[in-house]
Amino acid sequence: MELRINQKTYEVDADADTPLLWVIRDDLGMTGTKYGCGLAQCGACTVLVDGNVVRSCVTPVAGVVGREVTTIEAIESDEVGKRVVATWVDLQVAQCGYCQSGQVMAATALLKHTSKPSDAQIQAAMVNLCRCGTYNAIHAAVHDLAGQAVKGDA
């Protein structure tokens, strides 16, 4: 089948129900998208499909045929994604880094849809797990990108 990933076309030979994650990682060799749980629980595998957040570990590859997939490898080709990465680096968000591809993808999708997300919108969008506990840094980074100060009290 033919896949559109990061604005390139790939011909892949995989079963229709193979999760997109494993096609990206093993067939196409792009390892920035991570496997964490395989159950859409942690979000380490987050990619964008037509600009929307998708958990690639539970998305059958056949479901994205004819659609545009964006992975972390191409995130800096996107203006918003580039700003997200720059802010992630500036605010030193990452610790072990394993979940951060997914976090960056989730933040990029949010900001592309809603350039000035509210606190509630940020909370609803930034749900990926991080075992290192970078949640406050992620929160600060997304607020920074949204052009808001982090609220002093919640």
């Binding site: 964490g36 629980q41 968000v93 880094g97 506990g133 992620i138 929160h139 009290d153």
Partner: protein
Amino acid sequence: MTVRFDAIAHLMAQPLADPINLSRRRFLTGTAVGALVLGFGLPLGSSRVLAATAAAERGTQVPAFLEIRPDNTVRLLSPFIEGGQGTFTAMAQIVGEELDADPATFVVECAPPGDAYFVMENGIRITGGSMSVRMSYPTMRRLGALARAMLLQAGAEALKVPVGELTTEPGKVVHAASGRSIAYGELSERAMDLPVPDPASVTLRDPSQFRWIGKPVKRLDAYDKSTGKALYTIDLKVDGMLHAAVQHAPRLGMTVGNLRNEEQVKAMKGVHSVHRLPGAVAVVAERWWNAKRAVEAIQVDWQEAAADSAVRVMPADFSSDAYFKKLAAEKGPARDDENEGDVAGTLANAKSKIEATYNNQYLHHAQLEPPSALARFNPDGSLEIWLPNQAPEMFQADIAKRTGLDPSRITLHSPLLGGFFGRHFLYGSASPYPQAIELAKAVGRPVKMIWSREEEFLRDVLRPGAAVNFRGALDNDGWPIAIEAVSATEGPTEGLAGKQGDKIDPTALEGLSGKSYAIPNKRIAQIYVKGPVMLGYWRSVGNSLNDFFYESFLDELADKGGKDPFELRLHLLRDNKRLTTLLNAVGELSGGWKRGPFTAEDGSKRARGVAMASPFGTQTAVIAEVSIEQGQVRVHDIWQAIDPGSIVNPAIVEAQVNGAVSLGLSQVLVEEAVYVDGKPRARNYDLYPILPPSKMARVHVRVVESGEKMGGIGEPPLPAVAPAVANAVAALTGQRIRSMPLSRHSFT
């Protein structure tokens, strides 16, 4: 504390008793990296390494650590592995400060196994116990200074001037008199061929002149980790590699019997082969997804463990809830770790006394990167392996034992860790590398074994469980005069050894033992109970449970005596200037201690709790503010004052406090590994919740640099979090919860 750590270090270093020959060849293959794995990395020059290995003193073999490339970037081989805690950046700061090279010009990798890298003051090499920086700080500084001296000498030869006329500026040797300078990158070849100077001959910088140590230097890995470029073991690939997935026995110790549908599975798409392994079946395939799907389809007749099973056997009737009840009822015999004054007499005569029983829960490490290992046998029979690990030499020695290969024929790579929290020590049955090696041997091609999350949670070693019976007595004024804690438990080091040692496992009781409160009569004791669960080290180890017990019970004593818990701690620390300062610092950070309950601006009723801990040579004090939302605890703020003596990177310290708070909240609020009928109830994050972003608290950090001996950073901010929360909950609701997680309870 140092004594305690040395004890653990000694135990953990046991496998190193087997001699490891540091041959020149292994040294070289160890530093040369697989082509696909890293984009750079010239093998270090052979004559240099040979010359360097003659030097004996710790951390003086400069060419084994440093390569300065023509573009002036500095490649540093770190004795410690990076898993999020920031040690690669810290090492670059420490070495760069004395080398006179900007840490931003460093590229850091984990060093291969080798005697040269035993830089810690306790004589071992592990990444753990929050030891990396504090145990190697002077040595790594001196390493940088030695390298600088070599560059100066090379500069003197190149410029044909006396070395005394030269100085350095970041990245270059400067001859001020003539206005000439030479970049380190141009001098490196010549410098690294020079003999390493006498370690006593170099002078370290005056700390008042530090440019990078003590500053919030940016992490070296931030960009790669924000763009998916960072490579972990699970991401690696070598030519000709096959993928493997595994199905583990439902209970550890069971063995593989008949495979009822082996032929059908062999015929499944993409399957290369089906294998029987100790306690597991595996499928090797061209793609991991095919391997996983096939291995999960195998119908195995699992056999009960043999009586002489080499691994700890999980019984079919094991229930963790029942086990904690059993621990609480254990009567002894107990062994004393601390016994001062007359506890029994004081308790017998006191008018006011209380008793309470606490227990904790088992926990998973739950690092986001599932374990994997990539093994490749080379045509000459030597083995190359990539695996997550916190102790390269121990893993290499274990692999040598398993394969019969001389360690010199095992090249071990230590890629970045996708979180660890204690997960990647040598735990026998709990790691995929033996399987990867066996499969690579069987199929004659490189194999990468990845454990699915479910297989990981089935074999992960767990944070130990304990039940502690406390007794405490108060004087007529309501101040504590006696405390006794008897813990029925098995420490992680005892768990690994499979028996109790001659001395008490310090990792079993730390956090009950080692408290600084002036209570004249105290007894801390352990009843050793060997359990059926495979145990491991979990971030902050014994402190993670024991400080919850002790600091909660201390609040119970305060309540019994009618004392405010903050005032009680100040009273019991009145002769301890360092801890009094620290406790006052966290009080001030929180805007002044107030216990509550009080009504917050949003109308919610809230209260605060306080707790302290003394883990890994560092002192911490925490205040937590909580409310109740829909029957569950909501933690709004954590204020933490931390005194590690002195620090290297305040930004990383603050990040580590945030991370440790997150894990501390996770264990007190939501997390538990429950066993029913010998099996874990949860094998993924759906039924094993870890702290989600919605439950994270704001974190406020104050670093107090007392100037005392440098302590740890990665783990110490964790242990005081849980008791501070539980104490706040008790203040708010009147409910004293003596177990974790709090999600088992409903609050009003």
